[in-house]
């Protein structure tokens, strides 16, 4: 049982790491701010999401699981907001607010 859980953890965390890698490559290689932001959000949303999913197989008790999921949700919220704000500032002739 624990072997199966460990395998699931390794699989999910590896998938998450792939998204982080892809997001980082995109951040470095994409030509303009908007597409770089697009790449970055993949690392935030899916990369961290899969890492949290993988860690969920290892937690003791529901509160630790809730904490992990909260971390992911808060990161989603912060990431989405910051992306919006940067995108508005980066838009050609974009307003500050």
């Amino acid at each position: 049982m624990s072997l199966a859980l460990d395998a699931l953890t390794i699989l999910a965390v590896c998938v998450g790491a792939c998204f982080f890698l892809a997001g980082t490559v995109g951040l470095l290689r994409f030509p303009d701010s908007l597409s770089r932001l697009h790449a970055l959000t993949k690392a935030d949303n899916l990369g961290l999401g899969f890492v949290v999913l993988g860690l969920l197989f290892q937690v003791e008790g529901p509160f630790a699981a809730l904490k992990l999921i909260s971390v992911w949700l808060l990161t989603l919220l912060a990431g989405a907001t910051v992306t919006q704000l940067i995108a508005r500032a980066a838009r050609p002739g974009g307003a500050q607010e």
Binding site: L74, L77, A78, T81, Q84, L85, R88, E97
Partner: protein, 311 residues
């Protein structure tokens, strides 16, 4: 081992990059990344309390302060670039830095094995404080005087920032008034995040007596939530002449000092707690201290008064 080596190389690389960065803004971004990586290092050497403090204050709050400073300095940056110090001065500065680093490295490498430590005594006397977290016991009981002085130092820093205000705006509100779109993204996230953040801040403070956390880390989160609400335009920064604000700022150090003095009567020494009430007294100090630190940190980021006080 491979992970730790990679982390160390990364921290050093980001540190060098931060120093070498030409642009002030880029250097600040490097500094924030450096602080977060350093927090990971603290986690790796089993010091989660320090890691939390490094991430919250070292990286987050100081990063915010430096971002503000870099924005203010932007206009003067080209002028400052023209006044770069000569090669000799830079060489001397680099030489002294290398000397300090080498000295520190030598001390760490020459420590006897095992290194001298007070950790066993700190753990052995933990029961007398009623606390479960030895780090909090050091901060609030064994070395409470250091923590008291730290809270006073923060206040002095705020006095320093406020004293930069010109006379005509003295007593007014710090920073510009932020007029955000009430239906905008920032207002939305502030409305959603601030209640959650306040809860997390109180939680981090409260678990500090038994687990990693404490008043400085919790207060930083509370301060960040206040700053977020102000930046989103949901509330305005209070004028610095407000009586309630001044009371809030000194409440922590004042209660700390008063209970410290009461220690002479109750336990025979400054900042000594009678054993039966140790935990109660520590929490009584921690609550106002947390609120005072949160207010002080938020106002440090808000900056000196810039607007005329409204009568």
């Amino acid at each position: 081992m491979a992970f730790d080596t990679g982390l160390a190389v990364l921290v050093l690389g980001v540190a060098v990059w931060t120093i070498a960065a030409r642009d002030t803004f880029a250097a600040v971004v490097g500094f924030v990344a450096y602080g977060l990586l350093l927090a990971l290092v603290w986690v790796r050497i089993a010091a989660p309390d320090v890691a939390l403090t490094e991430a919250a204050i070292g990286s987050g709050l100081t990063g915010g302060l430096l971002l503000g400073a870099s924005t203010r300095l932007r206009r003067a940056e080209t002028a400052a670039a023209g006044e770069k110090p000569g090669a000799a001065l830079r060489l001397v500065a680099a030489g002294l830095c290398v000397l300090v680093s080498a000295g520190l490295a030598a001390i760490v490498l020459l420590l006897p094995e095992p290194a001298p430590t007070l950790a066993p005594q700190a753990a052995a006397n933990l029961a007398a404080t009623g606390l479960g977290n030895p780090v909090t016991a050091v901060l609030m009981a064994y070395r409470a005087i250091d923590t008291l002085l730290e809270t006073v130092v923060l206040l002095l820093a705020l006095v320093g920032v406020w004293s930069l205000a010109p006379d005509r705006v003295w007593g007014g509100s710090p920073g510009p008034r932020h007029h955000a779109d009430r239906d905008g993204v920032l207002a939305f996230v502030a409305q959603l995040l601030v209640p959650v953040g306040i809860l997390v801040g109180i939680h981090i403070f409260w678990v500090g007596s038994d687990a990693p956390g404490g008043e400085f880390q919790g207060a930083t989160i509370l301060a960040a939530m206040w700053i977020l609400a102000m930046m989103a335009g949901l509330m305005d920064a209070p004028p610095v002449s407000r009586r309630w604000l001044r009371l809030l700022l000194i409440a922590g150090p004042a209660v700390f000092f008063a209970i410290g003095l009461a220690g002479f009567v109750m336990a025979g020494a400054f900042l000594a707690y009678p054993k039966a009430y140790a935990k109660l007294l520590i929490v009584t100090i921690e609550v106002p201290v947390t609120l005072s630190i949160a207010a002080t940190l938020a106002l440090l980021v808000a900056g000196p008064p810039e607007r005329k006080p409204q009568r």
